[in-house]
């Protein structure tokens, strides 16, 4: 009953750190899930926007542009750190992985600090009015995801620093960048909507 024809795969590589890995695909789909969630939030923002004449509502100080715009610089640069880390992961270069991940995390922390400083200038909360509710929801969910990803990055630094970086862990470094690129990229439309939106789609 034993089949005579066989397909011997012992010569195939036992792993691959690339965009062909199942984990990379899984991470991509996780980003798509968050992306759909964020798209719903953007749609909601405009739904609320077009149903009123004055936006933001009277009494709400318009959001400043300087701090969030400056904060884009460390955020976008941090993606470079991610990229360096994935190159290090592919070449099994421990130092490059550590340098890239550290640059990623430090620049992202600068971004978060600027964001927290900016939040202190807001004169509204999520409970003030609908503008506050939707803006805070967007900011909160994005910040929450950023912190979650930074935690993941910190754990990866620990794993690599501890010398536990086998192929599976290096693949982890590689796919960590997928989520980080996503969080950087998705922030750009959010930034335009939340900060430029009230200016571009002006009060009627």
């Amino acid at each position: 009953m034993s089949p005579a024809r066989t397909l011997d795969v012992s010569a195939l590589p036992p792993y691959e750190i690339s965009n062909r890995a199942p984990l990379w695909w899984g991470q991509l789909l996780m980003a798509v899930i968050e992306g759909s969630l964020f798209c719903v939030l953007i749609a909601m923002y405009f739904y609320y926007r077009i149903s009123v004449d004055v936006w933001p509502p009277p009494g709400v100080k318009p959001l400043g542009l300087t701090l969030p715009t400056v904060a884009l610089i460390p955020l976008i640069l941090s993606a470079g750190g991610s990229y360096a880390a994935t190159e290090g992961a592919k070449r099994d270069d421990r130092r490059l992985m550590l340098a890239g991940l550290t640059a990623n995390i430090l620049l992202a922390i600068v971004f978060l600090v600027l964001r927290f400083i900016e939040w202190r200038t807001f004169n509204f909360t999520w409970a003030s009015d609908i503008h506050g509710s939707i803006v805070w929801s967007i900011l909160f969910l994005h910040t929450f995801d950023v912190i979650a990803d930074l935690l993941m990055t910190a754990i990866l630094i620990g794993i690599v620093a501890d010398g536990r970086h086998g192929p599976k862990q290096r693949l982890g470094v590689h796919v960590d960048s997928v989520l980080w690129y996503f969080l950087v990229l998705i922030w750009l439309p959010f930034y335009v909507v939340v900060y430029w939106g009230p200016r571009l789609v002006g009060s009627r």
Binding site: S2, Y15, W25, S36, M44, I130
Partner: protein, 638 residues
């Protein structure tokens, strides 16, 4: 197809199958004992748990339905009070949609898809276990709240403003809203696994045009889950729960919020949800029909493409649930057209199955009885669906029993009957025991007659003006006889359910063990023994046709050269499924359970105070660090 890597038929290779099986058993077996139960990550174990848990919730939802039918049997009945009735119909809808229908379809997929694709597990086994635990904890969370008095009572969709902070007091609606998050996380986990498993882990040679139709329907369903489920989390958690607990204004018109937007976001999920439940059922139908007509399903490309089209159109239908909300008519007309279009894609599939049945040699197993039940009931539900797509008719029958009849015809006919068919069809594979055909057919007839007796009169009751969600009615309206007939029908359904359960238990205990392929079916899950071993395939098959088990046995090819001392699987190309590289799945672990428990603690607290989210995030992060932390040597070595 000849594969560049296939050794041509020459002298047979020699290997020791028994030795390989022993090695694989050591590698793939989940830990034993009570604690070991929480470690399990094989897809068969997790899939069976999903199915069993979902059936328990079906039982709960069924009992709730019976309570409603008893209340409505006679006019001016006082079996349930108005408040209790609201709670019961809310629990019925919520249980059936979120705790039964979606999870049972996910569970079947978790069990079947890896075996049908010829691989050893899903792509992310620990995520799979995590998803199951989230689902169980969500179910416990809802029912524990209900048992302590916090029973939601605003319907399975919890429309605002009724469900909002001004009109719904207590924690019932909060529990409803957060239960959604639990079950959606679970569904999303499965969707990602199934999609990646289908794209990357198929047996060598199983190119896209050779994927079993059931796996196609699950792939499409997974993408629908990925795009639809985030919307309901926004509706239930961001909008409703935050309005109720931290004072946001998403549904509060006084501060610029809008209750209609809640409906939009909810139905943007809610309509695809119906197809999320229904597409896997179509996959069951294809598999059962194929095995029992002894021919390949007619029109494979047409079936796949119309299911893909269904997946797309499903996202453009949601407003037909909102025709009565006074939206602009131009927009509504578009949704009428889209709703009627879905009849085309569904019709194509029905005709493909009819053509298969017509030209095949039909064997009337119990499973096939359910297929014919599906065809009859579902087509009727589809016809009332086309009627309801028309705005004038919908406005007249909106919120009446006509709609109740329609969606029970579609959901029970379109999903439950195929599911029961699938249960009878794959029971031998999953349990290793043959299912009792005679009792299976008896349960079919009871369910079929009971179903039509219950729900057909509801069409007439609805057209006579009986509205949904009323707890009683005066005798003078003339609805008494229709309701009494419906209640008698519900009792017949219950009897059918009892026969179904008795049959399942008796068959489990019987000594008639199942052969690997009792139905002579063509797909790969039937090539391994019943029940399959933890590792699925001792030697992964190489596929060269759409129905591999009907191919010439002399041409069968298997994969060798995989390591047996760790959970190795093979990754193949997306389009042609050519072997690319091997990869290692993680071993069994307690951490997914602990992570789910930590997050559940946070979610449970979050209906009382927002800060509990941080507790959940912290505990969940701890769990996930434990989950990911590499343990030498096996998790680190190349």
């Amino acid at each position: 197809m000849t594969h560049p890597l296939v050794t041509p038929a020459g002298p047979p290779r020699v290997w020791d199958e028994q030795q390989d099986r022993e090695a694989l058993a050591r590698t793939w077996h989940d830990p034993e004992g009570f604690l070991g139960w929480f470690y399990a990550t094989t897809h068969q174990a997790i899939g069976k748990r999903y199915i069993l848990t979902a059936f328990l919730f079906l039982l709960a939802g069924g009992v709730e339905a019976l309570l409603m039918r008893i209340q409505l049997a006679r006019p001016e009945n006082h079996f349930l009070g108005p408040d209790r009735y609201n709670q019961i119909f809310t629990m019925h809808g919520t249980t059936m949609m979120f705790l039964f229908a979606v999870p049972v379809m996910e569970g079947m997929a978790v069990y079947l898809v890896p075996l049908m694709l010829g691989t050893r597990n899903v792509a992310f086994p620990r995520l799979n276990a995590f998803g199951y635990w989230m689902y169980v904890m969500g179910g416990i969370f809802l029912y524990a709240n209900a048992a302590t008095g916090a029973m939601p009572d605003a319907g399975w969709f919890a429309y605002t403003p009724l469900s909002g902070p001004q009109y719904s007091f207590g924690k019932g609606v909060d529990a409803w809203a957060q239960m959604i998050t639990f079950t959606e996380i679970s569904a999303l986990c499965v969707a990602v696994e199934i999609a990646v498993t289908t794209f990357r882990l198929r047996a060598p040679g199983m190119s896209l045009n050779r994927i079993p139709l059931y796996c196609w329907s699950m792939l499409i369903q997974s993408f629908m889950v990925i795009f639809a489920m985030p919307a309901v989390m926004v509706a239930s958690t961001v909008m409703l729960l935050n309005d109720r607990t931290i004072g946001t204004h998403f549904v509060n018109p006084a501060e610029g919020g809008d209750p209609i937007l809640y409906q939009h976001v909810f139905w943007f999920f809610g309509h695809p949800e119906v197809y999320i439940i229904f597409l896997p059922a179509l996959g069951f139908i294809s598999a059962i029909v194929e095995a029992n007509t002894k021919r390949e399903v007619f029109g494979y490309p047409a079936l796949v493409l119309s299911q893909v089209a269904t997946g797309f159109i499903a996202f453009g239908l949601w407003v037909h649930h909102m025709f009565a909300t006074g939206l602009p008519q131009i927009g509504e007309a578009y949704f009428t057209a889209a709703s009627m279009m879905i009849a085309v894609t569904t019709g194509i599939q029905i005709f493909c199955w009819l053509a298969t049945l017509w030209s095949g040699k039909v064997r009337m197993t119990a499973a096939m009885h359910f297929v014919f039940g599906f065809l009859f009931i579902f087509v009727m539900g589809g016809l009332t669906g086309v009627m309801l797509a028309s705005i004038p008719l919908d406005l007249q029958s909106h919120d009446t029993y006509f709609v109740v009849a329609h969606f029970h015809y579609v959901l029970i006919g379109g999903a439950l009957f195929p599911l029961f068919g699938a249960f009878h069809h794959w029971f031998p594979k999953i349990t290793g025991r043959m299912i009792g055909e005679r009792l299976g057919k008896l349960s079919f007839w009871l369910l079929f007659i009971g179903f039509n007796t219950t729900f057909f009169p509801m069409h007439i009751l609805g057209l006579n003006g009986m509205t949904r969600r009323i707890y009683t009615y005066p005798a003078s309206l003339g609805w008494a006889s229709g309701n009494m007939i419906a209640t008698v029908g519900a009792m017949i359904i219950a009897l059918g359910g009892v026969v179904f359960i008795v049959n399942a238990i008796a068959s489990l205990r019987s000594s008639v063990s199942a052969a690997p392929n009792p139905w002579n079916a063509p797909s790969l899950e039937w090539s391994v023994e019943s029940p399959p071993p933890d590792w699925g395939f001792t030697y992964q098959p190489v596929v060269s046709s759409r129905s591999p088990l009907w191919a010439d046995p002399a041409l069968r090819t298997v994969v060798t050269g995989m390591r047996n001392d760790r959970r190795e699987i093979m990754v193949t190309g997306v389009a042609e499924a050519e072997p690319q590289f091997r990869t290692v799945l993680p071993a069994a672990s307690l951490w997914p359970f602990l992570a789910a428990l930590g997050i559940s603690i946070g979610f449970t607290g979050s209906i009382f105070a927002f800060s509990w989210y941080y507790v959940g995030a912290f505990l969940g992060a701890l769990g996930m660090i434990g989950w990911f932390w590499p343990r030498p040597p096996k998790e680190i070595e190349p």
